[in-house]
């Protein structure tokens, strides 16, 4: 057994009980929420990001309600037709409506982004918090694991995992989530280490708040903002990763639509139907830009140094 973590904390300068304890923080209390929103609203870049993200989320959610042909409906009379009134984004190599496939493809991209980052956060944050909280050999073991995971480039690891798990959207999400996990382990560990030196945590320990309560009420709420920022930025990376895997044929399987696999097909028809390659790439670019802008804006808005 390891020593209790409380003994490892340097606690110079005051005696335990006499120090008043800061109230446990909710994740972003109301006052702070409104301040963050005020700052976010004043940053045009972050607002543009938010609008782009909301737009794509709405498109993905409303896909079944939009008056479009089905994403898999083929029309052999309209093969590789350039954009027109009937097909605003043109048709593909077997006469499917590109706009409809784009709209349904938004579901795959956003789902992949959100689900894989959720996997990464749910696995990575607890490991990181435990490493930073317990230190000692637990920390050493988790840190070595993180380094080993970080040693294979994100995409290579995702490709290898997708290869061994079999190609499908859900396996791509698992692969991307596992590959993104070490970022969150590192972040949560570093943040926990720094929160642990704060007076209110030391005071809470001094009055005997239990390990779980300490983590739940004092550590998690305080490490939440940087994790939210990182998660937003990682969604951007995850969407590109899903598109890359689908482009390589290791993500969403045909005939289900995904922007990456649409580009994979489109590259064979560049001369005959360039529009097939235009829209999916533009959509990936926009949605990724949206998450990047939003993430950067959130980082500035949540930065405590800027109060």
């Amino acid at each position: 057994m390891t020593q209790p973590a409380t003994q490892q904390i340097p606690r110079a300068g005051y005696g335990g009980m006499s120090v008043s304890i800061a109230p446990a923080a909710d994740p972003l209390p109301a006052r702070r929420q409104s301040r963050v929103w005020r700052k976010l609203r004043r940053s045009p870049a972050a607002l543009v990001g938010l609008v782009i993200v909301v737009f794509f989320v709405l498109v993905a959610l409303l896909a079944p309600l939009l008056p479009l042909p089905g994403p898999a409906a083929t029309d052999w009379m309209a093969v590789r037709k350039p954009p027109s009134l009937a097909h605003p984004f043109g048709t593909d190599e077997i006469g499917r409506d590109v706009l409809s496939r784009m709209v349904w493809g938004a579901q795959a991209s956003l789902l992949a982004g959100v689900v894989s980052v959720t996997i990464a956060v749910l696995l990575g944050v607890p490991l990181g918090v435990v490493a930073g909280y317990r230190r000692g050999w637990t920390d050493a073991a988790i840190s070595r694991l993180t380094e080993a995971l970080l040693a294979a480039p994100f995409l290579i690891l995702a490709i290898a995992l997708a290869a061994f798990l079999g190609p499908s959207l859900s396996n791509a999400m698992i692969a991307i989530g596992l590959s993104a996990m070490p970022i969150f382990i590192r972040l949560a560990r570093g943040q926990t280490l720094s929160v642990m030196t704060e007076d209110y945590v030391e005071s809470a320990q001094a009055v005997g708040v239990g390990h779980l309560a300490l983590i739940w009420r004092y550590i998690l709420p305080n490490i939440f903002p940087p994790i939210l920022v990182q998660a937003t930025l990682t969604i951007a990376t995850a969407i590109i990763a899903e598109a890359s895997l689908s482009f390589l044929g290791l993500g969403q399987q045909p005939p289900a639509p995904s922007w990456g696999s649409m580009l994979n097909t489109a590259k064979n028809f560049l001369e005959q139907a360039p529009w097939m390659a235009m829209w999916p790439g533009l959509a990936i670019f926009l949605v990724v830009l949206g998450f990047n802008l939003l993430g950067d804006g959130l980082r500035d808005a949540l930065d405590p140094r800027d109060h």
Binding site: A151, P153, F154, L155, I156, L161, F247, A266, K267, F285
Partner: protein, 314 residues
């Protein structure tokens, strides 16, 4: 320095062992019996038993692992199912192609990223800074395989300037080799240029606010000298570190770039291996990139210490 390197390598060993366990464990994720796949359609029970014995599949897992890692340490990463070549030979054969692509891409990234970052920091808050930041953020958000497709559409299909695919070894025909690699290097380099620009900008910003830059200016030193001799030289420390760490991005980007431009390199090898279920090749590649990545990390640390005089004696 030597003792530092020794220490870093010692610390890397447990991580490399962990990587090898991951890589070994990957094959156990495979659904079904690998022997059935190897034996093909007309399999007999004797054949299956023979293959099981040959690949030691009857042994406990840890024995299988030690056998595998023992062979790997002697440079035997197995045989490719597809080409029947040793995996290490295959990797060694494809690596120079990817190295050429990576070096050219890195040159593109350095030539664009560092001056853009310096300029953007020097003109902080002006329209130059704004444009540089917008371009950099766009560079980070564009999927590089799409950029590649769009470049092919523009420069090959519409203008006919550059070949859309193909590869010539540099040693055979240097000019043709550079010509075929130019577009892929541009595609791969621009994404890295964006990362590099952002790091250069923030490093320069912090250096430009330092006392020694203020002193140099107060002495009446020419602005150009202040910028290059005082500011950039010091900002280069974090930039060099970041560049070394771009190795992973470079390799991942190469996988996609090689796929688009059909370049027969390392990235194409891994994708082809995935589709032909050539698992020994996939495992070999992940193991090699992992070890190479660790080596680059150690190099980055060493470069940081060499460039930063305050760290030299630490």
């Amino acid at each position: 320095m030597l003792s530092f390197l020794g220490r870093r390598i010692l610390i890397a060993i447990p991580t490399i062992i962990l990587i090898s366990i991951f890589v070994f464990g990957m094959q156990k994720l495979l659904p079904g019996d690998p022997v059935l796949v190897m034996a093909g359609e007309d399999r007999t029970p004797e054949m299956l038993a023979f293959l099981r014995e040959k690949y030691r599949l009857n042994d406990p897992l840890y024995v299988q692992y030690f056998h595998w890692i023992g062979n790997a340490l002697q440079g035997d990463l197995g045989i490719s199912l597809r080409t029947r070549q040793p995996v290490l030979d295959l990797i060694a054969e494809k690596l120079p192609v990817t190295i050429q692509l990576s070096v050219m891409a890195l040159i593109v990234a350095l030539v664009i990223g560092i001056p853009a970052g310096v300029l953007s920091a020097y003109r902080k808050g002006t329209w130059i800074d704004w444009v540089a930041n917008v371009v950099a953020l766009s560079g980070l958000s564009i999927p590089n395989f799409w950029l590649g497709i769009m470049l092919i559409l523009l420069a090959s299909v519409n203008l006919g300037w550059l070949p859309a695919s193909g590869y010539a070894p540099f040693t055979d025909d240097p000019l043709r080799s550079l010509e075929t690699m130019l577009m892929p290097a541009l595609v791969l380099g621009t994404a890295l240029a964006a990362t590099l620009m952002r790091h250069t900008r923030s490093a320069m910003l912090s250096v430009l606010q330092s006392d020694y830059v203020r002193t140099a200016r107060a002495k009446g030193m020419a602005e150009r000298t202040v910028l290059t001799k005082h500011a950039l030289r010091n900002a280069l420390v974090p930039i060099v570190t970041v560049t070394t760490l771009l190795f992973g991005e470079l390799l991942a980007g190469a996988v996609l770039t090689e796929q688009i431009f059909t370049i027969p390199g390392f990235g194409k090898l891994v994708v082809d291996a995935v589709f032909t279920r050539d698992y020994a090749v996939v495992q070999g590649i992940v193991l090699c990139t992992g070890i190479a990545f660790m080596a680059m990390n150690i190099l980055a640390d060493a470069a940081y210490r060499l460039l930063n005089p305050r760290m030299r004696d630490a």
